[in-house]
C-alpha cells in the first residue's frame, strides 16, 4: 500500500482556543502539500498532530492505512525539519545524519553507506566532519533535511524550514527541497506563511484560517480561482473595489469612480466588495473605452515587474502589476485603468 497520510476530522483545542476544527486532508505518496495561512491559523498544530507531538482531541490520522492517532512520535517513522535548525550541537554533521539510523540499529557499515548517500543527495560533501556551530544557517538546514531523509521516512514534515534564512539562501534551499522530495518520492507536508514559497513548491496548497481549511487545490487553482474572499486576500495581492450592483449587473464604484462591467456580482442594489488581482488591472491612456480614471500615487520598481499604485476618484487605491519595460508613468500622471473582472471574487 502506498504511504499516504490522512487527517480525518481532526479537532484540537488549547484551553478556549480551537486550534483545529474538522480538519481533513489527504497527502498522497510523492505529493508535496503545503499548509498555508496566517500566524495562529493552526497549520503548525496540524503538523505537530501528524508528528505525534500533540494529541488530537477528536478525529483520526492514518499513515499508509494504519491508524497512528495515539502512536508516540518515535514510532511513526516521520522525518521532521524544524524552523530553528534543531541539530544536535554535540554531534558532527555525519553523526547528526546517522542518529536515526543508529536508533534503528543499522550496522556501522550500512550506516556509513546510507549517510554518504544522503550527504551526496543534499550536496553536503566536505562538511561531514563539521559541527553545527561551524555551519551557516542554510547548511544547517540542509543537514536537518538530510537527517530527516536518512531514516527513509514514510512522510516528511517541514515546519517553516526556510523562515530563518535570508532571501537568497531561502530560494536555493526551497528548490533543493523540491528536487530532493521529487527524487525520493516521499509524501511531504510543508508548513509556511509565505505565499510565494507555497505557490512555488507545492503540488497542492491547503489554505487555513482559524483552525479550519478554506481551500485545497493546486497552486494555480488557489491563485486564479480562490474559493473564498479570505483565500483571495491571503494568497497573492488583491485590489478591493467597493460598490453597488447596478440593474445591468455591473458594479457602480463608490465615490463616483466609475463602473466595472460584469453581470454576476450579486443582487441589484446590493453593496459588495470586488476582489481583483493587480495583474488583472491594465494601465492605459486616460479616457480609453472601458477604463476608469485614476491618478498615479507611486511607482514601485521590483525588477522585471513594477507595481503602479493609483487613486480612483473617491480615493480608492488600486495596484496594477505591469512589466517594467512597459511602464511609462510617474507619480501625479492621470491614467486609465482597465479592470478585468473575469477572475474576480465577490466579498459580501
Amino acid at each position: 500500500m502506498p504511504t499516504e497520510l490522512n487527517f480525518s476530522n481532526i479537532r484540537k483545542i488549547f484551553g478556549p482556543v480551537v486550534a483545529l476544527d474538522s480538519f481533513s486532508l489527504d497527502i498522497k505518496e510523492g505529493e508535496l502539500v503545503t499548509l498555508l495561512g496566517p500566524s495562529g491559523c493552526g497549520k503548525t498544530t496540524a503538523l505537530r498532530v501528524a508528528a505525534g507531538f500533540e494529541q488530537a482531541d477528536a478525529g483520526s490520522i492514518t499513515l499508509g492505512g494504519k491508524n497512528v492517532t495515539s502512536m508516540p512520535p518515535n514510532k511513526r517513522n516521520m522525518g521532521m525539519v524544524f524552523q530553528n535548525y534543531s541539530l544536535f550541537p554535540h554531534l558532527s554533521v555525519r553523526e547528526n545524519i546517522g542518529f536515526g539510523l543508529k536508533i534503528r540499529r543499522h550496522s556501522a557499515d550500512k550506516r556509513k553507506t546510507m549517510v554518504d548517500d544522503v550527504i551526496t543527495r543534499v550536496r553536503l560533501a566536505g562538511l561531514a566532519d563539521r559541527y553545527p556551530h561551524q555551519l551557516s544557517g542554510g547548511q544547517q538546514q540542509r543537514v536537518a533535511l538530510a537527517r530527516a531523509l536518512a531514516i527513509t521516512p514514510d512522510v516528511l514534515l517541514l515546519d517553516e524550514p526556510l523562515s530563518a534564512l535570508d532571501a537568497k539562501v531561502r530560494g536555493e534551499l526551497r528548490d533543493e527541497i523540491r528536487r530532493v522530495q521529487k527524487e525520493t518520492g516521499v509524501a511531504t507536508l510543508f508548513v509556511t506563511h509565505d505565499q510565494d514559497e507555497a505557490l512555488a513548491i507545492s503540488d497542492k496548497i491547503c489554505v487555513m484560517q482559524d483552525g479550519a481549511i478554506q481551500q485545497v487545490g493546486a497552486p494555480r487553482d488557489v491563485y486564479l480561482a480562490p474559493s473564498t474572499p479570505f483565500v483571495a486576500r491571503f494568497v497573492g495581492a488583491m485590489n478591493e473595489f467597493s460598490g453597488t450592483v447596478a440593474a445591468d449587473g455591473s458594479l457602480i464604484l463608490e465615490g463616483g469612480a466609475g463602473t466595472l462591467p460584469g453581470n454576476k456580482f450579486g443582487v441589484v442594489g446590493e453593496k459588495i466588495s470586488l476582489l481583483v488581482r493587480p495583474d488583472d488591472v491594465l494601465v492605459c491612456p486616460s479616457g480609453e473605452a472601458g477604463s476608469v480614471r485614476a491618478t498615479v500615487n507611486t511607482v514601485l520598481f521590483g525588477g522585471s515587474t513594477t507595481v503602479v499604485r493609483a487613486a480612483l476618484t473617491g480615493d480608492q487605491i488600486v495596484s496594477a502589476l505591469v512589466m517594467s519595460r512597459d511602464v511609462h508613468v510617474k507619480a501625479g500622471d492621470v491614467i486609465g485603468l482597465r479592470i478585468d473582472t473575469a477572475r474576480s471574487v465577490v466579498a459580501k
Binding site: G79, F99, I103, S136, R147
Partner: protein, 269 residues
C-alpha cells in the same frame, strides 16, 4: 581610573587575606611540629610534616567514616541527577509555566531548618519503615533535598542555554525513546550543568554535619568534630585536605565550564 584600580586591588588583597590567614594558621597548626604557643613568623618554614594526616588515615574509624561520606556523596549526586534531570527537562518541555513554582520549591531547604526536616521525616518513617532510618543511606534523600537550591539552578541554567523542546522533538521524530533522548541528546548538551550539580551535591555532603549528627550517623564531618579532642592536629589536617578537595572540584568545574564556553564559537552566518 587609577584610583579605582588601586581600590579594587586593595579590596582583593583584604578579602584574600581574610580567607588565606585562617587557612595558613590551620595549615601551620595541622602540619608543623611546633607547640601552638611557640608558633610565630620566625619559624614559619620549620618542622613541617604530613605525619598527622597519615596518623589519621591509619585509624579504622576515620577510614570507615571517610568511606561512608564518599559513598554518600557519590550516591547523592547520582540520585540528584536521576531525579532532577528528567524532571527539569519535563518542566522545560511541557510545563514551562510551572517553572517559577518549582524554583520556589527548590529554595525551601533554605527556609526549612535541617532539624525540622529530620524530625519530620524520621518521625514519619520510624514507625512505618524503621530499617530506612537505621540505614546509613537514609541520609541520601536528605542530602538530595538540601542540595536542591544549588542543583536545580545548575540544571535549570544548563537547560535554559539550549533549545530543549526542539531537540527533544527532533530526537523523538528520529525514533528515539524518552530515555534515549535524555541520555544521547540532552545530557551531552548540559554536561557542564550536570557536572556542576554533581560537584555541588558532593561538596554539600562532604561538609554536612547537622543531619548526620541528629540521625546518629558517623560521617566524616561528624568524626572530625568528635576526634578534635583526641587528635586535634589530625582532624585539622583532614579538614584542610577536605577543603582543598572541594575547592579543587569547584575550581575544576569553573575552568571546565569556561573552556566549554570558549570552545563554542558563534555560528558563521
Amino acid at each position: 581610573m587609577k584610583r579605582r584600580n588601586i581600590l579594587a586591588k586593595l579590596t582583593l588583597i583584604v578579602v584574600g587575606l581574610f580567607y588565606a590567614l585562617p587557612m595558613i594558621s590551620m595549615a601551620r597548626f595541622a602540619f608543623q611540629r611546633i607547640p601552638v604557643a611557640l608558633l610565630g613568623s620566625h619559624n614559619l618554614f620549620d618542622r613541617w610534616t604530613i605525619k598527622p594526616l597519615f596518623t589519621m588515615f591509619g585509624k579504622p574509624l576515620f577510614r570507615e567514616s571517610a568511606s561512608l561520606s564518599i559513598r554518600l556523596a557519590l550516591l547523592s549526586a547520582l540520585v540528584t541527577l536521576v531525579v532532577l534531570v528528567p524532571t527539569v527537562v519535563y518542566v522545560h518541555v511541557s510545563m514551562m509555566r510551572a517553572r517559577a513554582l518549582i524554583e520556589v520549591i527548590s529554595i525551601l531547604p533554605f527556609v526549612v531548618p535541617a532539624i525540622a526536616l529530620v524530625v519530620g521525616i524520621s518521625g514519619a518513617f520510624r514507625e512505618s519503615a524503621p530499617w530506612f532510618i537505621r540505614s546509613n543511606y537514609c541520609l541520601v534523600p536528605f542530602y538530595v533535598i538540601i542540595s536542591l537550591p544549588y542543583t536545580f539552578r545548575s540544571i535549570d541554567n544548563g537547560l535554559s542555554s539550549i533549545d530543549v523542546k526542539t531537540l527533544v522533538d527532533a530526537s523523538r521524530s528520529l525514533g528515539a525513546s524518552w530515555g534515549r533522548t535524555l541520555w544521547s541528546v540532552i545530557v551531552p548538551n548540559i554536561r557542564v550543568a550536570v557536572l556542576s550539580a554533581s560537584f555541588l551535591t558532593m561538596t554539600v555532603v562532604l561538609g554536612e554535619f547537622t543531619i548526620a549528627s541528629l540521625l546518629l550517623k558517623r560521617t566524616l564531618p561528624l568524626y572530625l568534630s568528635q576526634s578534635q579532642g583526641q587528635d586535634p592536629q589530625g582532624s585539622f589536617a583532614v579538614g584542610l585536605v577536605l577543603l582543598l578537595v572541594t575547592a579543587s572540584l569547584l575550581g575544576f568545574m569553573n575552568r571546565f565550564s569556561r573552556r566549554r564556553n570558549i570552545a563554542q564559537p558563534v555560528a558563521m552566518l
